[in-house]
Amino acid sequence: MELPSISQLLFVLFGAMALGCAVAMVAQRNPLYSAISLVGVFVSLACLYLTLQAPFIAAVQVIVYAGAIMVLVVFVIMLLNVEEEVRRPVRLHYLIPVGVLLAAILVGEAAFMLSLGSGGAARVTPMAPAASDIGLTASIGTGMFTKYLLPFEVTSVLILMALVGAISLARQGRTPLLAAPGNVSEEPAALTAGGELALKPGDTAATGRAFARQQLERGEAAAPSRAASEEDEG
């Protein structure tokens, strides 16, 4: 019997790790455990990229996926304090057999493609990952900034749009009105006994401007004394 080569052993090891983590991710009911399992999938896929001689993609996989995206996901899970999913009565019972049927069709299609692949895809195997420089950063950079410059630039625009969209989606409350004179309807903030401004939750910048205008109308009761004290210190 032929012994498996080291690359086959590595493939089986990391492939099994990826599959196990993926199944665990779907089976978990706690989203935080799902997220940790997904990190396991990402790391084992990065190892598979290394066996495919794509070190740049492997590094980016760990940095961007396991590092940035999953930190964002875990941050949101903890921010929203998501506990385990509650079991609910299943609605639409007839959908379960339909779902099983569709999953079977999907698996069957994949198996059909792969059995075709034993004739089709296997023919490209001789080109196999020989020692080459196609996975190195230099060749990827060359490709990205010459032949594929337009997709790269479009991607940067996409990132800008995502930035603006994420900020405008996640921001709390309405857009504050610009405080033109006569455009401020908020109640002016009250002065405490000590003379400082008492800010309440819900006060906006407009409230502060209304307060400042009220101070001006009152003949700058507080401001001159503060200015005087600053002069004394200076």
Binding site: A22, Y49, L80, L158
Partner: protein
């Protein structure tokens, strides 16, 4: 020597697990993570073909897919936070109508 078919089979199985997760999960964040898993399965196919054909294009495409996934994560999580703020729940069954 690993046949290319092994990588394709692994990728197909991972993709199917992602699809099943999207179907059976009801937590919005868990569905989101299953979508990430599907993107990664496709990335594995791209890198395998790129490596076996000796062509760098597949890896460039993986890079762009990762960028899109990062943008998707930012916007998607923003939407999830907005939904949670309005409905106090992440269950997609609670968000089945646009009206509150």
């Amino acid at each position: 020597m690993i046949p290319l078919t092994w990588y394709l089979a692994l990728s197909a199985v991972l993709f199917t697990i992602g699809v099943v997760g999207v179907i059976i999960k009801r937590n919005a964040i868990a569905m989101f993570m299953c979508i990430e898993l599907m993107l990664n399965a496709v990335n594995l196919t791209f890198v395998a073909f790129s490596s076996y054909f000796g062509d760098v294009t597949g890896q460039l495409f993986v890079f762009i897919v990762m960028t899109v996934a990062a943008a998707e994560a930012a916007v998607g999580l923003g939407i999830i936070i907005a939904i949670f703020r309005n409905r106090e729940s992440l269950d997609v069954d609670d968000a089945s109508v646009l009206r509150l």
